[in-house]
């Protein structure tokens, strides 16, 4: 049964669908009819065919804001100029919306990325975007200010005051549908329906497809007891936008009033006598109506539905096209050269508004935390190395450490690219130069960051737990510059220079962050280097270094050296072989097995790798270093190993 009512509605047969839900008696009580209205309206909204509103018309509003730069400042959700713009926490480009448009939203509607609750709760408007809006659109922002004041006054019940504020705003901007709509509401609350209706009509003329205008109009007409017009307005609202929650109640109300009125007229006409109609305020509550009369009345309802659909909606869409065209034309005329600065804006002022408060330069790849302050991405990350709180307001920023996500404010980035293009190029060049200068690696001399800790060895893994701010920065720069390289030198602070003259380059294989910003680094030793000069950068050591390599092996010494290597290797293998199984396992887990002994004719500039394996194992597991790193003479290194392993058993009691 329900199925076929659904079917009838789908085929727009309103009369049949309505009667379908009623008893088949000859006469029907009005209460029987009104009781089934709720269910009927629900089905009517669900199944009555949807209109095809060209998608392009919804798009129209997105580009319809007048003035240069407006497209950048247009909310992706409501299509209007930003109001209290908040920037979300998207991974790549962070998108911006009006604060009201993202209320309780857990996802960015532009890119679909989720917004963590700790970010969305208590999110504040972007101060930089707001400053730009105030500067570029002073008139619009004044209007918005007036409107907000008006809205506050409405909340406080001062409808006349609110009308004053809206009128003031309308004087600045006579093309804002929202302003007319709000003033319309204030007039409605004041029960000045004539003025309210005029504002509702104006709202609809400005934005024909906006459901709010039609909603307001329906309410006003209903209050004015214009039953037919109120019904038409409500039907129009429903046909345009069924998602508005209030539509259902409004439609039910209009249906009821329409039927009550029509049936009442019929009853009055039939009875003629005064006894029935004078009985009370609701004379037709227990009234009965014949099936035939009801059918006639419902036919008029169906006709209204049809005519609304065929003629009124068509008219509205046509108007929308026209008004859209008008608005596009208007915006195009002021958009002739989109790279031109917004009228009256000076580049100096824009630069001032877009200066990072940390480095005092143009914001570069700016990030906007939920407190609303903006900083260069690099500057913000440096701040986080020290303390996860906003430098301006001390707002907690630990979310950035937990998520390691630094989405750039799309709006600021686009604005800078369009209106300060040369400044951006300059700024980008500066940044790139900085990144390149972090590690100048050539075959000759190079400048590298120096991590001062323990000796690292060529080809051997080296693990680090990085917690100091300066070393966090160093690791990040190594990753960002793409080199993944830094120098490791042993600490020698107690004797002369802070760090040793000889070090080893490390290559970062893997880097993992903890939630509080520390990181674990797995690196692998590269070549050895010699420090030529020392420096400082951002709190850590740097050095100009030069790779060192083993002395060439004279041909006549080759056989002798091979024999020396053999005896050292055999000794080492035997010594390590005598370790307890648990120690052997620990060694192997950290450094792998003892590397094979190579032929000395094909060695790297750092010589046989098994020597570095021995050095790394001894220094890590037995906390003793064998002075091998600085020796560029292979014979020298082998003799040292022989001496250590022959005369000292110190390295082999690790299990105490």
């Amino acid at each position: 049964m329900d199925k076929s009512q659904e079917d009838l509605l789908k085929r727009e047969r309103v009369v049949d669908a309505f009667l379908h839900a009623l008893p088949t008696t000859e006469t029907l009580k009005l209460s029987q009819i009104t009781n089934m209205l709720d269910a009927f309206v629900y089905r009517f909204i669900s199944y009555y065919p949807t209109l095809h509103v060209p998608a392009m018309l919804n798009e129209v509003y997105r580009t319809s804001v007048d003035g240069s730069g407006a497209d950048i400042f247009t909310c992706g959700s409501c299509g209007q100029l930003f109001e209290d713009p908040v920037t979300l926490f998207c991974p790549d480009d962070s998108h911006t919306f009006c604060k009201n448009c993202v209320k309780d939203a857990h996802r960015c509607t532009t890119c679909g990325s989720s917004v963590p609750i700790e970010f969305s709760s208590g999110i504040s408007p972007s101060l930089t975007i707001q400053a730009l809006l105030d500067y570029v659109f002073p008139r619009k922002m004044k209007c918005y200010e007036n409107r907000k004041q008006g809205n506050r006054l409405i909340k406080n019940g001062d409808f006349r005051g609110a009308i004053g504020k809206y009128t003031e705003a309308i004087e600045h901007d006579g093309n804002s549908a929202v302003l007319f709509s709000n003033r319309c509401q204030a007039y409605t609350l004041l029960e000045d329906y004539t003025s309210a209706l005029s504002d509702a009509d104006r709202t609809i003329a400005l934005r024909p497809l906006w459901s709010k205008g039609h909603y307001r109009r329906a309410i006003i007409l209903s209050r004015m007891d214009n039953v037919q017009a109120a019904l038409e307005s409500t039907l129009l609202l429903m046909l345009l936008d069924r998602t508005v929650m209030a539509t259902r109640d409004l439609l039910k109300d209009q249906f009821r009033r329409f039927l009550t009125k029509e049936i009442g007229i019929r009853l009055n006409a039939e009875v003629e006598s005064s006894s029935e109609s004078a009985r009370g305020s609701d004379p037709s509550a227990e009234a009965e109506v014949s099936r035939q009369d009801l059918t006639t009345i419902l036919q008029r309802l169906e006709n209204t539905v049809h005519s609304t659909k065929t003629s009124m909606v068509g008219k509205i869409i046509e108007e929308a096209e026209n008004s859209a065209e008008k608005q596009i034309a208007a915006s195009k005329s002021s958009h002739t050269d989109s790279n031109e600065l917004p009228a009256g804006a000076s580049p100096e002022k824009l630069e001032e508004l877009l200066t990072c408060t940390l480095c005092y330069r143009l914001l570069y790849r700016p990030i906007t935390p939920n407190c609303g302050h903006s900083f260069c991405g690099v500057c913000l990350q440096r701040v986080l190395d020290f303390k996860p709180s906003c430098p301006q307001c001390r707002h907690d920023l630990s979310i950035y450490l937990a998520y390691r996500q630094f989405g750039v404010s799309e709006v600021l980035q686009k604005f800078i690219a369009r209106y300060l293009p040369t400044q951006l190029v300059e700024r980008t060049t500066v940044h790139q130069t900085e990144m390149q200068s972090l590690s100048k690696i050539t075959e000759e001399e190079m400048e590298v960051a120096i991590f001062v800790l323990n000796a690292a060895y060529p080809g051997m893994p080296f693990s680090l737990h990085v917690f100091e701010p300066r070393y966090r920065l160093m690791m990040r720069q190594a990753m960002e510059s793409g080199s993944r390289i830094f120098g490791m030198c042993e600490y020698t602070g107690s004797r002369g220079e802070t760090f040793a003259d000889i070090g080893t380059m490390l290559y970062i294989n893997h880097l993992e962050h903890t939630e509080d910003g520390r990181c674990f680094v797995s690196a692998i030793g590269q070549r050895r280097f010699k420090v030529l000069s020392r420096g400082m950068r951002d709190g850590y050591h740097t050095a100009v270094v030069k790779y060192i390599e083993d002395d060439p092996i004279p041909a006549e010494e080759l056989d002798d050296l091979e024999r020396l290597q053999e005896s050292a290797y055999v000794l080492v293998r035997a010594r390590f072989g005598s370790l307890s199984p648990s120690s052997l396992e620990a060694v192997s887990d950290n450094f792998g097995p003892l590397p094979p002994k190579p032929s000395l004719t094909d060695c790297s500039p750092d010589g046989p790798s098994w020597i570095w394996w021995v050095a790394a194992v001894v220094s890590t597991l037995f906390s003793t270093s064998i002075p091998l790193l600085a020796k560029t003479n292979l014979r020298n290194r082998l003799q040292t190993i022989l001496r250590v392993f022959r005369h000292s058993a110190l390295a082999f009691q690790p299990d105490e």
């Binding site: 440096r382 020290f386 709190g539």
Partner: protein
């Protein structure tokens, strides 16, 4: 010095320019000619304070990590103040845990000037002076005035 430090150097250059162009009333801060991170500072004792009439010399140094780390500031002129010790070290929150990289040399100097106007014996650095300030403020103030006359007159 180049590298990423250049960005922060640009900040130091700008801060220095502004300090020279629009100096804080009652405060001179002049960069050392050999070291742009080192400033020679002279603060006039604020009116109405026991330090009025004196000129106090300070040194201000911007460490390598500035502005991530606070400037290091020290009084060179002897001063009788509960929040400044005999070595000239200053007890001021924004120079320690309350430092923020959004603060500047200017803000630091203004805060020091304010500290001279309003000594805070409840957060002392020099306990003896602070004790005196609490027990007998009138005596402490007159000692401070005495010291100002003795050490801070030009």
């Amino acid at each position: 010095m180049d590298g990423a430090g250049a960005g922060l150097s640009k900040r130091i250059i700008k801060e220095t320019q502004r300090l020279l162009q629009e100096p804080v009333v009652g405060i001179d801060a002049i960069p050392d000619e050999h070291n742009a991170r080192y400033f020679h500072v002279a603060v006039a004792g604020p009116e109405g304070s026991p330090f009025e009439g004196g000129v106090f010399k300070l040194e201000l140094f911007l460490p390598e990590e500035y502005p991530m780390s606070a400037p290091k500031v020290r009084f060179m002129t002897k001063i009788y103040h509960p929040n400044i010790d005999r070595l000239g070290r200053i007890c001021l929150d924004i120079l320690k845990d309350k430092w923020s990289p959004a603060l500047q040399i200017r803000t630091v100097l203004l805060s020091i000037q304010a500290l001279l106007s309003a000594p805070n014996p409840d957060d002392p650095l020099d306990n003896q002076v602070a004790e005196q300030w609490k027990v007998n403020e009138a005596l402490a103030v007159s000692t401070a005035r005495e010291w100002t006359k003795q050490y801070a007159k030009q």
